[in-house]
Symmetry: C2
Subunit: 348 residues, 2 copies
C-alpha cells in the first residue's frame, strides 16, 4: 500500500475507536468530588489526544479474538479460556497513565502548553497538578483492577502496569540527568527513550494479550512490538522537530536544538565531530530565524545524522512488525502493522 | 494497665518489629539506577519514622494466625487456606505509600522539614521530589503485587490499595480547599481526615486480613479499626499542637493556630462563638510568645473545644477497639488495642 493509503487506513481505524474510548473515559473517570481535583485530572484527557495507546490495546484484542471492530463488544470481550474481560477499561487505564505522566512531566520540564491548551500547572496551579497526576495514577490502577476475567491474569497485568510506571519514572529521571551530561552515548539515549516513552506502548500491547489468556510467547512478542514501535515513534519525533514547518508542528521548528535538548541526531552528529553546541548557540526559541535553522539542519544532514535517526526508526519499525507474526492473519493485525508504519511516516 | 505500662508495651512491640521492617525496606527498595532518583526516593524512609502502619499490618497478621512475633516468619506467613504469603512485603508497601504522600504533601504545603531533615524538595529539588514520590507509588504496587498466595486475594489487595490512594489524594485536595473556606463544619473536617490520614491505617489493618483468607466480616472490622484509630490519631495531633511544650513537639507549640490551620478544635470554638481568627491574628510562628499561646489555649479550653476534640478522639478509639472483638484473643490482638490507646495517649 502507498504511504497515503496506509495513513488513511490507520487514521480511520484510530478515529473509529476514538469516540468509544472517549466515551469510556467519561464513564470510568467521572467528575467526582472534590470537583476541582477531578476537573484538573480530566483536563488534559479532555483536551484531545489521538488515543494511540488505547487503539493498540483494542487492536491487539481484536487480532487475538479474530473480531472486527464492528462486531467487537469491548466491554464484554471473549478470552481464549471462554471468559469475558472489559478490554475498554484496560485501554482507558493505559491512556490515564499516559495522561498522568504528561501532567507531571510538564511541571518538571516547565512546559506551558499541552495539546494546544495551558498545561495543568498553568491552568490550575502546581499543587493541583501534582495531585491531579497522583489521582490519575491511582485511578488507572483502580480501573485496571476491575477488568474482570481470571484474577491471576489481572494480577499479572497489575504487575506489568506498576513496573511500567516505575520504568517511566526512571526514564524521566534519566532524561533530566542527561541535560547535564556531555558524554552521552546513543545507546544511553535509546535506553532512556525505551523507559520514558516506549514501555507504555509495550504495556498497551501486552496487557490485552495477558487478559485474553494468550501464550507467554505472544505476550512477549506484543510487548516487544509496542516497545520497538514506541521507540521508533520517539525517534521520529526528534526528526520531525527539525524537518517539519513550524505551522504544521504547532511549535517552533528546531526548538529541541535551540534548547540544547540532546537527541539521537545530535549525539550522532557529535560522534561525527560536529560542533553541535555551536549550531544555534546564540538563539532563543523566540529569536531564532528560519535561515539559521536551515543552516543547522544542513550541517546535520551533511553529517548523516538525520539519516541515521531515520534509519534507526525504520529498523525498529521493521523489527516491531515482525513481532506481529505470532498473531492470526486478520484485519486487526494488518492494522497494527500499518500503525507501526504510521508512527514513523506521520508528518507531525 | 496504667497509661505508662501500656505505652511501654506498645513502644516495645513497635521497636521489636521496626528493625525487621527497616531491613525489609532496604531489600524491597534497593539503591537501583538511576541512583539519584532512588536515593531521593529512599531519603525520607531512611530518615526515621515509627513504622506504625507496618506494625499494624504485622500485628493483625499475628493475631489472625495466632503467632507470637518471636515465632512469626513474616516472609512465609501461613494463610487460613494453608498457603503462604510474604506479609513483610505488604507491610513495606504500605509504609512506602505513606512515604510517597509525605514527599508530595511537603511540596504542596511548602513544608521545609520532615522527620528532622530537609524535605525531599529541599534536600534535592521539586522535580526530583515529584519523581521520587511517583517512583515510590509504583514501587509500592510492584511490591504488593508480589506477596504471593491466592492471586484473587492479592488482586483484592491491589484494589484496596489503589482506592486508598485515590481517597488520600481526595483528602489532600479537600485539605487544601478548606484553607479558603470559612464555613467549614466539623463533619466535613472529619471526612477530610478520614480520607487524608485514616484510610491508610484502614488499609494497613485490612490488607493482612485479606491476604490471610479472613472472612469478609473480619476484613471489614479491621478496616474500621484502622480508620477509626487513624482518625483519633489525627485529632490527637491537633490537640498536641496546643498542649505539648515546643521542645517536646519538635516545632513551635500552637503553630496550627498561628498559621490559621482549621482543626476540629477551631471549628468547635467557632460554633461556640469564639473569634478564632482574632486569637493570634498578629503573630507569626517566629514572633509568637508562650504567653500569647497560653491565652489562646485558655480561651479554647473555656469554650470546651479542646475537651471536645479529646472526647472525640477517645470515642473513636473506643469504637476502634470494639472492632477487635472479631479477632482471636491473644498477645497480638491485645497489642492492637494498646496501640489504639497509645495513638491518643502519646505525648508527641
Amino acid at each position: 500500500m502507498t504511504q497515503n493509503a496506509t495513513e488513511k487506513r490507520v487514521l480511520g481505524a484510530i478515529s473509529q475507536r476514538r469516540e468509544q474510548v472517549n466515551d469510556a473515559i467519561e464513564v470510568e473517570l467521572p467528575l467526582d468530588e472534590p470537583e476541582r481535583l477531578y476537573e484538573a485530572s480530566r483536563y488534559i484527557l479532555q483536551a484531545g489526544g489521538k488515543r494511540l495507546r488505547p487503539t493498540v490495546t483494542l487492536l491487539v484484542g481484536e487480532a487475538l479474538a479474530e473480531l472486527d471492530a464492528s462486531e467487537a463488544e469491548y466491554r464484554a470481550f471473549p478470552t481464549a479460556a471462554g471468559g469475558e474481560v472489559d478490554l475498554m477499561r484496560a485501554a482507558v487505564a493505559i491512556e490515564i497513565i499516559q495522561s498522568f505522566t504528561l501532567i507531571h512531566d510538564d511541571i518538571m520540564d516547565d512546559d506551558d502548553l499541552r495539546r494546544g491548551v495551558p498545561a495543568v500547572h498553568n491552568a490550575y496551579d502546581t499543587e493541583t497538578a501534582i495531585l491531579a497526576g497522583d489521582t490519575l495514577y491511582s485511578k488507572a490502577f483502580e480501573i485496571m483492577a476491575d477488568v474482570g476475567g481470571d484474577p491471576a491474569n489481572t494480577l499479572e497485568v497489575m504487575r506489568q502496569l506498576s513496573s511500567t510506571c516505575t520504568k517511566i519514572c526512571e526514564g524521566q529521571s534519566l532524561d533530566v540527568a542527561f541535560e547535564s551530561r556531555d558524554d552521552l552515548r546513543p545507546e544511553e539515549y535509546l535506553e532512556m527513550v525505551e523507559r520514558k516513552t516506549a514501555v507504555l506502548y509495550g504495556a498497551a500491547a501486552a496487557v490485552p494479550a495477558l487478559l485474553l489468556d494468550a501464550d507467554e510467547e505472544v505476550v512477549d512478542a506484543m510487548y516487544r512490538y509496542g516497545v520497538e514501535s514506541g521507540k521508533a515513534f520517539q525517534i521520529q519525533d526528534d526528526v520531525l522537530d527539525l524537518t517539519v514547518p513550524s505551522e504544521e508542528l504547532g511549535k517552533q521548528r528546531g526548538s529541541d536544538l535551540v534548547e540544547n535538548k540532546e537527541t539521537l541526531i545530535t549525539l550522532h552528529a557529535r560522534q561525527q565531530g560536529v560542533d553541535v553546541d555551536g549550531l544555534l548557540s546564540d538563539s532563543t526559541v523566540e529569536s531564532v530565524t528560519e535561515a539559521e535553522i536551515d543552516a543547522a539542519v544542513e550541517t546535520l544532514e551533511e553529517a548523516g545524522s538525520i539519516e541515521y535517526a531515520r534509519e534507526m526508526a525504520e529498523e525498529l519499525t521493521a523489527q516491531s512488525k515482525e513481532r506481529l507474526d505470532v498473531l492470526p492473519d486478520n484485519e486487526a493485525s494488518d492494522l497494527l502493522a500499518d500503525l507501526a508504519d504510521y508512527l514513523i511516516s506521520r508528518g507531525y
